[in-house]
Symmetry: C4
Subunit: 256 residues, 4 copies
């Protein structure tokens, strides 16, 4: 296995939208997507493994290991003819351009096979200060998306700079394949895990999708997320040290 | 998509020359090529996307995103039997040898399919001091090119050192395919965006191609270019920090 | 040759387990596996070379060179119907995620062709202090492995963090192929080569495999291993300097 | 073109030995091989280009550019039935393991097609002090090579450490293909270009090959080599800075 790999079971979905919430600034996207999965009781149906993710496995409390991965969940819309939802979450993102292209390409291939045509990517928009009532900024693949979504309280054209990583590349590469999409960014400080910002994003998203999402447990989940990401940070830091240490020497302090 | 990709519409061109003006020292080549596109009202007909370009999308003012890319424009020569022109410009260049080989290879494949046989690459030649009347240095793929172009006021054999990036590799790799070419380098300070140097290059180029190019708006465009490149610099700097920060930790401050 | 390559002679093995002991923390895994090879008089039957290992050859005392590599040994179980053993040891491990995926993938391909279905990876678990009687921690691919091995004095679920490198990736990638396995980690300081920790691991392993292994020469071998790894460290450090020095300049001090 | 490429004209050679002299410590190997080419009036018949060499072209004094490359020369042995010689020299070597594997693999493929079965790689062996009468150390692929070459005044088994780069990898990878060979290392300081050390190596080599090589101009050529390598060092240093500077920003000072 030397390529990004998606292991999935078959599901049949109706015109599914894709919601991406991988780790990023303030963990806003990850928090929102993870929360949505739990509240909607979405079901896991695919896992993505990549040679571009860290080469380490996590030791779980029950005595078994697991690889780092991304995961796909689906939710069947109970409304007749309503669009189903696919949610993409995970431990990590690839960190080089080449790796992001490959992994995002694999995600888009998979999503297209499910019949998907519209992507929401979720993230934070760092403003460097604490925000009482976080606004939600948007940037879309086409003007028609801007026009149709503006009414939901998304600020288009007010965020500047660039969107780095999967939240940007899924939209950019998707556009080349004729897939539409939008990045929803919750205003956030940037320096800490921000449940409030995730809440703003989820409020907008539930209005667009016409899906109810209970937000009462969001704060508690933010705490868990923070803890997990600190652990990931610590573990991947070790790996980075090994890589920099080179081939043999520093590997002496390799496993722990 | 895991390879450099060129999306184009079909055009029929007559023995087209290729003019490359990607970002480089003093933005001389980029300025000259961008200006030429606008003055000649050249038409865009192809876009190049590469996994070796930064994995980020730019947020535009109107609320939509776009990927980083290179672009091809063409200009039909109104003179009967006159050579048409293809101009290559863009946001970025690849930064590793392997990536430059791949991207330049894709450009040459594309250009050869258009029937092209001669390449002008444009750039600056840094001399570390302000230059009142910038000279234009040249370095060609073969002596016969030197002989035929000398009369246009290009100084051959007076620049030393090497030409790094697409301006050099398109010529070097092109030569292996039997494509001739020359790099035209405007003398420049090296530390700032230099419209005067671009003007010198354009004067030489318009003499060679026997095409009139109005140079009156060059200064204004230089200002715009400078602004854009400062933005690019800022955005790609962020990405570099993420890459160095490694897999999980620093990604917390990922999107903005 | 631009891929990881395994050169082997044919052997027929009965349901062989794989034991991995590549360099890692405290050299615990390497020591244990190397010792096992010598005590069991296991026979070398395959060598693995990879473009991801350092591009240097070692000069041996008798005047010949050898490449850096990993090696596979086998041991035929004298008991009728008893499982045979394959032991994987070597000079180095790959240091990037992409390289680990490729090399571990090649190892798993090879092992599966031998009919293998269970992997033991051996390593150290650094605790940052000298340990009188090193415990053995375990982390398995599945709960059923935990259940069946617990009785042998392995502590499951008490180690936390992650397992970096081949000891982790062989299990993680193996699991995706339906191969079961466990990582046995000897408690160790982390800062020096630890024969005692290797002894603990071997005691557990010999109980599980029902194979007797004389441990009396383990201390002596630890000394030899330490010496070799110090040499490797020194040599690969040179290579790292060249890589950082770039293409031409520093290569002047290239061979020694 | 995204692979290492060898452009050659057809030659028919009799059981040719390969002599490698790419840049390395004290430029000993390069000096010796370059000198041999000139004294034997060997003829160039192939050029090697690689995506792993720096992405820059050199500007020559006559006004044309050339890519960085390796070159193959051949020399027909005037003695009836005598072995012909192929000499490999060049501007640079690849600097990563993956790149060295690919480039050395391409060299070996090419050499095998010429019917080659024995490789001499030439280099320096740094001892950190000025040496009056440099000895020649050897390290071979097999004991039979040691046995047959010892009589020519080569010290086998007295050099320790490793041989980094093409001088080592051609032998190591060649051995896997059944090609025999030896690395001849001239004792040298390590800090400067060493014509005396190259002389020692050439004396040994001419005894082995029974070919006379006039050594009177070696000193002069050492001076030229030193000058060229200083230039290469300067140019590739610039490229390294660009690579580290990242995608857009530092590219402003890109060509010169």
């Amino acid at each position: 296995m030397d390529k990004t790999l998606i292991v999935s079971k078959k599901v049949k979905l109706n015109d599914p939208v894709l919601i991406e919430g991988l780790p990023g600034i303030g963990l806003v996207g990850k928090l929102a997507a993870d929360h949505m999965i739990k509240e909607l009781k979405a079901e896991k149906f695919a896992e993505l493994y990549s040679p571009h993710f860290p080469h380490q496995v996590l030791m779980l409390k029950k005595g078994i290991i697991r690889m780092l991965k991304n995961k796909f969940y689906y939710w069947k819309n109970p409304k007749k003819g309503g669009r189903d939802i696919v949610i993409l979450v995970g431990d990590v993102q690839a960190v080089t351009p080449e790796a992001q292209f490959e992994v995002c390409g694999a995600i888009l291939d998979f999503y297209q096979k499910l019949g998907g045509k519209f992507i929401f990517t979720l993230g934070g928009y760092g403003v460097g200060r604490v925000v009482e009532k976080p606004r939600v900024f948007g940037s879309a693949t086409r003007m028609e998306v801007v026009t149709s979504l503006k009414k939901h309280g998304i600020l288009f054209g007010e965020a500047s700079g660039s969107i780095i990583g999967a939240a940007g590349m899924l939209l950019g590469l998707g556009k080349l394949r004729g897939i539409k999409g939008v990045c929803l960014m919750g205003e956030t400080h940037g320096g800490y895990v921000d449940a409030k910002s995730a809440q703003s994003v989820l409020e907008v998203l539930s209005r667009i999708l016409e899906v109810k999402i209970d937000l009462s447990k969001l704060e508690i989940r933010a705490k868990e997320s923070e803890k997990f990401m600190k652990r990931m940070e610590k573990e991947t830091e070790k790996q980075k040290q090994i890589q920099e240490g080179g081939f043999a020497g520093k590997e002496l302090s390799y496993i722990r």
